[in-house]
Symmetry: C2
Subunit: 292 residues, 2 copies
DNA sequence: GCGGAGAGTTTCGATCATAGCAACTCGGTT
DNA sequence: AACCGAGTTGCTATGATCGAAACTCTCCGC
């Protein structure tokens, strides 16, 4: 394996180092690093929703590239339709070409496809069963499972419909649905009891679910099954909408407190990674371990 | 003005020359051309909806780039998140980063904004009044006008609602709406007569409109106003849906047959250009002058 | 209408990043 | 076990790339 990236890269891929301006070439990231290539993407990244139009000077200054060189780069990009230049104002914008590439990417941004490798990795790391659960008209459904290799393990039925009021994934999903949807589901009621710990009162469920929303994940103990506990975290799309939850479930007796903490970390990373792949940008997710 | 591109570049910007493989550097497009930059975009363009995953060899072969070099380019792109590599299969895919750039572009893809420069150019070229008309709940509306500089000119009311059965733009839009919508509008009926040439019979209107659809544009003679004639062509978004029509209208008496042909050409180019800017790829548009 | 400032464009030679060769690893196939 | 094809690494010559400096153009204040 040639360089730093190991397997799936979830977050923090931003090479937009801010001010490369003053210093000469700070961090060269890999033995195969081509500056000319990297510069191209750095140019494209200068264009944001906030500043979609930039002058030559803006570009050359913010990237620390000589204006002459900047002109050459921009002109080349323009000639292939990745930048367009308003002939009046001389300002550059991103070209439609990029939109089309974006659409090619969008076609691959399918939840199951994206989540699967994360489930696999979770199982490797935890040795427990991992699942992907998605919301559906009436009740969440388990749409992907990677089973624990252990002899005694949580068995998850692919395609099974789960209740809204028990199990970690359903509650995590419920937590991030819109207020109306959540209330509709709570109002519908009819919650069954599965174990002594199952919440069946709608108001209690609402409270639980709002707490989950604040926390950004959920650890559930024996509320759906007397022997099982689990950890879930939400997966969002690029609009910031919940598309599902990633979950790891284990025999409750096997889960020490330390293990729980580790699982939470792993599950959250997996869910964040999948969210990122779906185009989500770190917004709504609560950040206990914020990089501040 | 440094190089070949003059003003707005509508179509045919594809530098994807197919086989640059055999020959050495065929066409160098501008004095400011940087091969390294161009190569980056050519790499990205290898990925299409049909072949979204490519191996190193696929890339290097189809671009005629040495595999060593290809590895370096791809690795650099990977390290900045524009390509992702499946560690198992070693295949590359486009990264989510591109999706985000695509979204930045999408925000600029607003019909009025995009069409305006085309209207301006049309007026320059034709010296007649140009308009942008969009469909709306009940009737098309004129949402942008650039007026002819001539003393006697067609006056177009910004924001005016037009009838469906007269004038070129409404009929062009009608032609490209979905079958259901079109039939609903035809069924609603209540068409007024404006001149001797106005079509008021729904069946006749349907026939006219289907003919327009085959033709891809429409030349209307004195059917809304006894002194005015006009040419319209449809503008599509990236789903291939009609978003509006671009129109040039002149005093009927000023329009010779030659002029009409010229106007048709200009209006179609403008509409195609605007469509392109909205992400439309030459699909549904009828192609009399196909490049086949 | 003049002069200066700021942005963009053009030219040109020196130099350093880059291209491609060749050798190597690794996994699968005959 | 030998082979093959894909991918990875090391190394050096060279020509594409970079930046300095001069030029153009437009806008502004006087």
């Amino acid at each position: 394996m040639p360089f730093c990236q190991r397997g799936n890269r979830p977050f923090g891929v931003s090479p937009q180092v801010g001010s490369r301006v003053g210093g000469t070439e700070a961090v060269v990231q890999s033995p195969y690093f081509l500056e000319s290539v990297d510069r191209v993407v750095r140019v494209l990244e200068c264009f944001t929703p906030e500043s979609p139009e930039l002058r030559l000077k803006d570009l050359s200054e913010s990237l620390g590239i000589h204006k002459t060189q900047m002109l050459r780069i921009a002109s080349t990009l323009e000639s292939s339709g990745y930048l367009v230049r308003d002939p009046e104002t001389k300002r550059y914008r991103l070209g439609v070409r990029l939109f089309h590439l974006g659409m090619v990417v969008q076609q691959q941004m399918d939840l199951r496809r994206v989540a699967h490798p994360y489930l696999r990795r979770l199982v490797e790391e935890t040795q427990e069963t991992a699942r992907l659960v998605v919301p559906d008209h009436d009740g969440p459904i388990c749409v992907d499972v990677v089973e624990s290799p252990k002899a005694i393990r949580v068995f998850a039925q692919l395609g099974a419909r789960l209740p809204w009021n028990a199990g970690t994934s359903p509650k995590v999903i419920l937590a991030y649905l819109s207020d109306e949807e959540r209330e509709r589901i709570l109002a519908r009621g009819g919650f069954k009891r599965y174990t002594a710990r199952t919440i069946i009162d709608p108001d209690a469920l609402r409270a639980e679910v709002l707490a989950i929303r604040n926390q950004g994940y959920h650890v559930g103990i024996r509320d759906l099954d007397n022997d099982a506990s689990g950890v879930s975290a939400p997966v969002f799309d690029h609009h910031g909408r919940v598309k599902g939850a990633i979950n790891v479930a284990a025999l409750a007796s096997r889960l020490s407190d330390n293990e729980v903490d580790r699982f939470v970390e792993l599950v959250r990373n997996a869910a964040d990674g999948a969210s990122y792949q779906l185009g989500h940008r770190s917004g709504p997710v609560v950040s206990t371990a914020a990089h501040a």
